[in-house]
Symmetry: C2
Subunit: 275 residues, 2 copies
């Protein structure tokens, strides 16, 4: 495994950088961005972005550098899907295929050879963090589809990720149009029983849990709240099954990066405390 | 005059918004963005962006909202040129025409009817700030081409703008390729004598000055420093003619928004102090 630097920008005395590497999980060239503060680094927060995003959205729009600049913690932001392929239906819509990997391992024809974003994040990216960046501790967070990713990966790997948080996550993908479309395409309509293993609410219902509290921020003016995000379903399942959460509904806030930027510092404080 | 709201995002308890209006200076529909913190607003900082930018770059990438959130000061970010026209040569290159208005009043055929970004900022936008946002004090800052704009507008209107600062400004446009191309296209090759009235270094040489110090940050790894920005020319003219400047050369920093974000807080502190 080797990663190559695409470009680097000095930023708050540290470096905001963009890398690419050949991925064994996706069998494509994958890209990610990082911000690494000046000084020795011990920990990494993995940020998972939402639909249509690349490795650039969060690192250029969130203001994360001003928050992490004096810490011993880097952030790494992978792309949201494999790129450069021409699978059937892969580029036809914003909510499936390229830019919409949904952080799972696909099982359908064509997609199963490449769309393994679950393995990519859980195994390959953490390995890169260890070998290339000498990082010992990881946590995970994300937004929307990436919030779904953070919850699912964090619940399935409670030892690997020291803390989990999410902005506007898709908490119950088997019950919303975005999730149903993606899961049908990546996992097959005939395999609905398997879908629940990538659904945070279903994982909680099946007894999955973390010892620490999961932090979630959700805007009340989020246009996707009622139809796609279904925050309440996760909240109810957590209450019933004993998973601690801190769920903040934010009046007047929408689904945008302006919302994320507003409450990002509180999320980062949780992650830094967990290391 | 009336402005209409395109969209608004709640952000650090305030609002990041996008507006459009019919401009008398450009005879086109112009757009601008704002961030208005919660509470009463007394002052406005005008941000002028660089080549290829729109009203969105700075407001989405700089982290300005986290800095202004507890102040009584808004920021307003106009687009960098008129839009929606089809003038000869207007859309052929990134450094002339659309996205490259250079904050002057054009005199050449076609352009003189619309490319009046000087009047647009100095008269029309400040009028909008007064009548639509009830703001009493203004200051001005910008980046690259917008740094040129901030210096020129600030030097020509020392009473109107309470303070001036710039990141990576084009300080001597009559002596660099970007400026020469733009001034030839907007002001005419036969009118080189008029060019100096839009050149910050020439304005200083001709006796123009402000009583306060101008703040400039310039990255030493900026790829445009030697050929286009010519920072030294302005610095020497200011020293010779008694204009106070605080010029910070920043080792390792480039021309990007990652550079701007790093030192933005220091610039904003200067502006807030001037009101």
């Amino acid at each position: 495994m080797s990663i190559s630097l695409i470009k680097s920008h000095k930023n708050f005395d540290g470096l905001t950088s963009f890398y690419q590497h050949e991925s064994s999980a996706t069998k494509t060239t994958m890209r990610f961005s990082t911000f690494i503060p000046e000084g020795e680094i011990k920990n990494a927060i993995i940020w998972l972005s939402g639909l249509t995003c690349t490795e650039e959205n969060f690192i250029s729009k969130s203001g994360i550098q001003a928050i992490l600049k004096d810490s011993d913690t880097m952030i790494i932001c992978p792309d949201t899907s494999p790129r450069g392929l021409q699978l059937a239906g892969e580029h036809d819509s914003y909510d499936f295929g390229s830019g919409a990997g949904f952080y799972l391992n696909a099982t359908t024809d064509g997609y199963r050879d490449h769309y393994n974003m679950y393995d990519y994040i859980v195994s390959e990216l953490t390995d890169i963090l260890k070998t290339e960046f000498s990082v010992a501790n990881y946590s995970i967070m994300g937004h929307s589809m990436g919030g779904h990713g953070a919850l699912v990966l964090g619940l399935k790997n409670p030892q690997l990720f020291k803390s989990v948080s999410a902005f506007s996550p898709i908490v119950n993908p088997t019950q919303c149009p975005w999730g149903q479309k993606a899961f049908a395409g990546y996992l097959g309509s005939e395999n609905e029983a398997n879908w629940s293993s990538y659904d945070a609410t279903e994982i909680i219902k099946a007894g999955g849990a973390r010892g620490d509290a999961i932090l979630i921020d959700q805007g009340l003016d989020d246009e996707f709240l009622q139809e796609q995000l279904l925050t309440q379903n996760f909240s109810e399942a957590c209450e019933k099954h004993g998973q601690k959460i801190e769920l903040n509904y934010r009046e007047g806030y929408d689904h945008s990066y302006y919302f994320i930027a507003t409450f990002l510092k509180e999320h980062i404080e949780l992650h830094l405390k967990s290391f």
